[in-house]
């Protein structure tokens, strides 16, 4: 469904991704793990079109999207839940969700979009209770749910999630991850999940990639990575456990 081939990304003279190749098959949850500054966010932004790679290609659902604009990519069914949530803080929860549907806004879509917003409220009841509140007043976990809900409003087939657990208490993290799993079951969604919280991510993932200073250094079945000595030593320390 998604394939990266030999992707290089540069910020000026700094190279943040080196010859990265990876793929995500339909229906999979794939975890991309790695420490601070490994290049995880860079890769997600490259996939969603916010950053242009210097070489290499990104293919989504059979089409080369390497040089497409973010607007075009989201309209093709690929949504990116950015690092740090980036909800529109002064706008209401309802408006944030509505804006999530911007890419499919056409005349006569109003009712379908309303229905989808209610579906998000069913999925995350707390968002429904706070629909008229400014998004900035929500707690971190609620903002994460909103950011995910907003991305779902574009009706994606593939969801990119950048560190959804960042700054959240373990029980909230667990709740978010449970939602990710159920999204695949209920919507048939494919997920590429970036996490520093490697153990939780690998527990719900089918496969995983380990990124270090811009390179993929390991890949395999999630269970194998969980059992891998090097991975355990580097990424599965007790302090990261949730």
């Amino acid at each position: 469904m998604l394939t990266l081939k030999n992707v290089d990304v540069h910020y000026g003279r700094i190279q943040a991704a080196k010859r990265v190749s990876l793929h995500v098959d339909p229906g999979e949850i794939v975890a991309l793990i790695g420490g601070n500054g490994a290049g995880k966010t860079t890769l997600l932004c490259t996939i969603s079109g916010l950053i242009r790679p210097s070489t290499g290609s990104v293919t989504f659902a059979g089409a080369d999207i390497t040089r497409h604009s973010p607007e075009r990519i989201v309209a093709q069914g690929l949504s990116h839940v950015p690092e740090g949530r980036l909800v529109f803080a002064p706008l209401s929860v309802a408006d944030n969700l509505l804006l999530g549907s911007y890419s499919r806004h056409k005349f006569g879509q109003g009712q379908a979009i309303e229905a989808d917003i209610s579906a998000i409220y069913d999925m995350f009841p707390v968002l429904g209770e706070r629909r008229n509140q400014p998004a900035g007043t929500l707690s971190g976990g609620e903002q994460q749910m909103l950011s995910i809900g907003r991305a779902l409003m574009a009706k994606p087939r593939l969801l990119l999630l950048d560190e959804p657990s960042m700054g959240l208490a373990p029980n909230i993290t667990r709740d978010i991850f449970r939602h990710v799993v159920s999204l695949r079951e209920s919507l048939g969604l494919t997920v590429l999940l970036v996490e520093q919280n490697a153990r939780s991510a690998l527990k719900i993932a089918d496969r995983g990639y380990v990124l270090e200073t811009g390179r993929v250094i390991l890949q395999g079945q999630a269970a194998e990575l969980l059992a891998n000595r090097d991975v355990q030593r580097a990424y599965l320390g007790r302090d990261l456990d949730a």
């Binding site: 973010p70 309209a75 950015p82 706008l91």
Partner: protein
């Protein structure tokens, strides 16, 4: 102090203040979508008045059509400025972009002088010059037009931002550009739209004021500066604060000119602005800080 002269000053203050307010709104809308102060905003106000005058003259149009067409023409000018001067230097630092807008304003003013000369022109009042007596003060029917049209513009803008998806998308761009593009919002298109809306608002302000204050190729300088003062007064980034800032500025200026000295009329705005910035740097109605990413 007698009531009727006070009322007279209030009326004239609110009238010019409305135009400052509309110019300030224009500043705010572009600031919100781009993070830059568009110093060509005053030229939009000038173009609105001058186009109206000349569309009447050249094509013999009735005034309503002339004003409408002038607003459209200025909107196109706004779009051209964005496409030809702002977009090509995309990614430049805000200070460079601001300098670009100053260049644009000088260019437009020069062009206007070449085409229309240095004369002062008057637009006829929309519905006659017969003053209406209000408690001993005389109110020109044009003042009613100015107040009414300004209020209508404000209401339309409010509706645009709170009830349409394009309006909300424009706000979203100002809050978080990256997230907005991830929603599929074309940030560049929103910037273009913001220039067009600002031009439209400025032009309408210029056209409705022209019968009262006359117009010439260089009225944009002062009106632009006053609009800028109003938008700082109201709190940069807050459209309705900006409009209110314009009214406050207009009224204070008119009171100052009436009761103190009319020689310093134009200085009041800036003295007031400086004083306010010392006391309340975020403006009268502003948020504590304007954070931009």
């Amino acid at each position: 102090m007698n009531i009727s002269s006070l009322l007279q000053y209030l009326i004239s203050g609110l009238t010019t203040g409305s135009t400052y307010g509309l110019a300030a709104l224009g500043f705010t809308i572009i600031f919100n979508s781009t993070g830059i102060i568009n110093f060509a905003q005053g030229e939009f106000v000038m173009l609105g008045g001058m186009f109206s005058v000349f569309f009447m003259k050249w094509f013999g149009l009735p005034i309503a059509w002339a004003v409408l067409l002038a607003a459209l023409a200025t909107m196109i000018a706004g779009a051209l400025i964005e496409r030809l001067a702002i977009r090509p230097v995309k990614g430049a630092s805000p200070i460079n972009l601001v300098i670009v807008t100053i260049g644009v304003s000088i260019f437009i003013r020069g062009l206007a002088m070449l085409v229309w000369g240095k004369d002062t022109y008057a637009l006829p009042a929309f519905s006659g010059d017969k003053p209406i007596a209000v408690l001993g003060a005389a109110m020109m029917p044009q003042s009613l037009w100015v107040l009414g049209v300004s209020l209508a513009m404000l209401a339309a803008l409010k509706a645009f931002f709170s009830h349409t998806i394009q309006g909300k998308a424009m706000l979203a761009c100002s809050f978080d550009r990256k997230a907005a593009s991830l929603m599929g919002i074309g940030v560049e298109r929103m910037v273009l739209l913001s220039f067009m809306i600002s031009a439209l608002i400025g032009a309408v302000g210029g056209a409705i004021l022209a019968p009262i204050t006359l117009t010439s190729f260089d009225v944009g300088v002062l009106l632009g500066l006053k609009g800028f003062a109003a938008c700082i007064l109201g709190g940069l980034g807050n459209p309705f604060g900006a409009a209110l800032g314009g009214l406050v500025l207009g009224v204070l200026e008119s009171l100052g000119a009436g009761y103190l000295s009319s020689a310093y009329k134009d200085a009041f705005a800036f003295i007031l602005l400086l004083a306010l910035l010392f006391v309340r740097p975020q403006g009268l109605f502003g948020r504590k800080s304007v954070k931009r990413v």
